[in-house]
């Protein structure tokens, strides 16, 4: 196709940073029109993310030297399979969140702050996914932290403020550990580019300590099991679009960065020990999150604890990285499937909460029966979280179990399956009230968009059930390090 | 010979500065009086810019003195003032209730 050749020469990657940043700046200048800037940005960014994914799929990874300065001196943007898949997932979920927020925040006096901070968060995440430089990654990471802390605190009230404070301190601790890692790497090799570092890192003390500091720092940010305390109150009490953005997207950021570092910078280092430790923490997260989700009395709390559990799956990454060269792809596909499904669940929960005026599970039956479209969306997306057949979650867990068995890691396969059973139990709890007999009540009137958006995302979860092959072939176009 | 003496004098100065920095950091993080911690932190920032000069980084020294010590110090002092005022407000409210 001729247009493909024209596209091959175009530098699309910078636009994925320019567009949301320009949107964020404009929304900050004209808060009254913030939502329209937000919507325009969301649409344009989705188009760009689609084009970029197509371009990468057709022509392989692209590296762009910013300002025309070649790597040891300048910063690079790297658009490869992994980055473009994350960008695409962010754009799809981001558009859904923006559309839903249009209805959810209508008539809220402080609604424009959501739009401004959300566009900043989006810009920061895109910049992070594209960055090919360890120090630049630090700056983008701080942007993500500041925007998401402000979004958590936006709800006001003691619990969200305390959660935001805890999140900020844990994140700053993580950032400092990461930055010390950067300093050690620069001290040992004198370069900052991911590729350049990957080409030089060999088994010795400095990169080992840097790897440990950076990994642990980022783990703290991503709320892996013993460090998860701030997550449930933060994600559970925020406005629904914020919860969706935090649970579906922000949690994936530090996971992505850890994966990127181990794929590109540290492939020469051994993972022995680390993989078992991470696997145990991951299993702890899956169990603990699942059990807490079974006990939580409110709809959004259940979903928030489900995120604690699902972060656990993400960090099965380490045993997989060690045991199977392609193992990380299954985990990335899981991250994408979880992002879409979790956003759909949180948005549907937000719609039900708005309709009923509360989100106590025990009293939600009538509204769930009255708002069938939304309950249906909750059900399908919930099935995606559990990993029932015909959903993206099923393919993701299938890939995880298959990879685990191929590598002889039957313990981790058991964790995946056991976690699935727990997820089945708490998703059934979520849907339970809908199946009780009783009157149906549509609750408060709501804009139609709040019902259609969760449904569309939920249907996309089913669509992802057929996206395994294209996603994996896009991921095959990922730049790996180690002499490359 | 005098050159060597200067060199060793400077190294002694570096060691002394490093020890002072560590001591100040230790004291300011030890807790107790918050106002003292904040003042010590500002002093810490100024000592740091001295260290940056010794590490031949005059640009960083300027930035540290202006931003690290100056602006951060002002931020800390004003935050401490507001914290005290909030404390008084809570104290008064609780005093009124009981």
């Amino acid at each position: 196709m001729p247009w493909m050749d024209v596209m091959a020469d175009m530098a699309l990657a910078p636009w994925l940073v320019i567009l949301p940043l320009a949107g964020a700046l404009l929304a900050g200048l004209w808060p009254a029109a913030a939502r329209w800037w937000g919507l325009l940005t969301a649409l344009l960014t989705l188009v760009m993310a689609l084009l970029l994914a197509l371009q990468v799929h057709a022509h392989g990874p692209m590296i762009l030297d910013l300002g025309g300065w070649a790597p040891p001196l300048g910063i690079t943007l790297v658009a490869d399979g992994l980055a473009s898949l994350m960008l695409l997932m962010t754009a799809v979920v981001g558009l859904a969140i923006s559309l839903h927020a249009l209805g959810y925040l209508a008539g809220e006096g402080r609604g424009h702050w959501f739009w401004i901070l959300w566009l900043w968060l989006w810009a920061a995440m895109n910049a992070l996914y594209l960055s090919g430089d360890v120090f630049n990654l630090y700056v983008t990471l701080e942007l993500v932290v500041l925007a998401s802390v402000a979004l958590v605190a936006l709800a006001g009230g003691a619990a969200p403020l305390v959660a935001a404070m805890r999140y900020l301190l844990v994140s700053l601790l993580g950032s400092m550990a990461y930055l010390m890692g950067v300093a050690l790497l620069y001290g040992a090799y004198g370069v900052l580019g991911l590729q350049a570092l990957g080409a030089q890192v060999a088994l010795s003390a400095a990169p080992m300590l840097a790897a440990v500091l950076m990994t642990v720092g980022l783990l703290a940010k991503s709320a892996l099991f013993p460090l998860h305390v701030w997550l449930p109150p933060a994600h559970g009490s925020a406005p629904a679009p914020v919860s969706a953005a935090l649970s579906a997207l922000v949690v994936k950021v530090s996971f992505y960065l850890i994966l990127r570092l181990w794929l590109t910078v540290f492939p020469a280092l051994p993972l022995s020990g680390l993989d078992v430790l991470m696997g145990v923490l991951a299993a702890g997260a899956v169990l603990w999150g699942g059990l807490m989700a079974l006990r939580a009395p409110r709809l959004k709390q259940v979903v928030a604890y489900s995120t604690v559990a699902q972060v656990g799956y993400l960090f099965l990454l380490f045993p997989f990285l060690r045991a199977h060269p392609e193992g990380w792809k299954a985990v990335v596909f899981f991250a994408v499937a979880h992002g879409v499904a979790k956003a759909a669940v949180f948005l549907a929960a937000g719609t039900l909460q708005r309709a009923a005026g509360h989100d106590r599970l025990a009293d939600l039956g009538a509204v769930m029966r009255g708002r069938l479209k939304t309950s249906f969306a909750l059900g399908i997306a919930g099935a995606g979280l559990v990993g029932l057949p015909f959903t993206g979650g099923f393919i993701a867990k299938w890939l995880l179990v298959q990879t685990a068995l191929e590598a002889g890691l039957w313990i981790w396969a058991l964790v995946v399956l056991g976690g699935g059973l727990l997820a089945g139990a708490y998703v059934f709890r979520l849907l339970g009230p809908a199946f009780e007999p009783g009157p149906a009540d549509r609750g408060r009137p709501l804009p139609a968009v709040m019902e259609w958006v969760p449904l569309a995302l939920a249907l996309l979860t089913i669509g992802l059930g057929f996206a395994g092959t294209p996603a994996l072939s896009l991921l095959a176009r990922t730049l790996a390090g180690g002499g490359g | 010979m005098p050159e060597e003496i200067t060199t060793w004098f400077l190294i002694g100065f570096d060691a002394l500065l490093a020890l002072t920095l560590l001591g100040v950091a230790w004291r300011l993080l030890a807790g107790g009086d918050l106002f003292r911690s904040v003042v010590l932190f500002i002093a810490f920032g100024l000592l740091l810019s001295l260290a940056w000069v010794r590490l031949s980084a005059p640009d960083v020294a300027l930035a540290e003195a202006a931003i690290g010590a100056g602006v951060t110090g002002a931020l800390l002092l004003v935050a401490l003032g507001r914290l005290r005022r909030l404390e008084n407000r809570f104290f008064r409210r609780e005093g009124g209730n009981t």
């Binding site: 802390v149 009230g157 403020l161 109150p233 | 401490l80």
Partner: protein, 106 residues
């Protein structure tokens, strides 16, 4: 020249110790203002390691870490400002300038 080698080493050592000192205080201290100060001390430690590396390199003083540290100082002051305001909001909402032992469930 002994000074060319020793000076950066002294500051590398000092930077590492500042980093650990800050880390320890961040975990152990409970008042939020002290925790915020601890993060700043950790940051200064990292900056010192970066500048020590810059001064101890083979090819003369390296300007790139200087630029990185200036960026880092500005990022640190931004984060500190946000943390301080958040601390005041927590104080106003809960009456405490410290974090409760475990997260409140609601």
């Amino acid at each position: 020249m002994a000074a060319d080698v020793l000076t950066p080493q002294i500051y590398l050592l000092c930077g590492v110790l500042l980093f650990v000192l800050g880390l320890h205080a961040l975990v152990v201290r409970r008042h939020l203002l002290l925790k915020i100060l601890a993060v700043n001390v950790m940051g200064s430690g990292v900056f010192m390691v970066l500048l020590g590396v810059a001064a101890g390199g083979e090819g003369g003083v390296d300007p790139v870490p200087h630029a990185l540290v200036i960026t880092g100082i500005v990022v640190a002051v931004s984060a500190t400002a946000v943390a301080l305001v958040l601390m005041l909001r927590v104080k106003a909402a809960t009456g405490l300038a410290r974090l409760p032992r475990s997260g409140p469930e609601d």
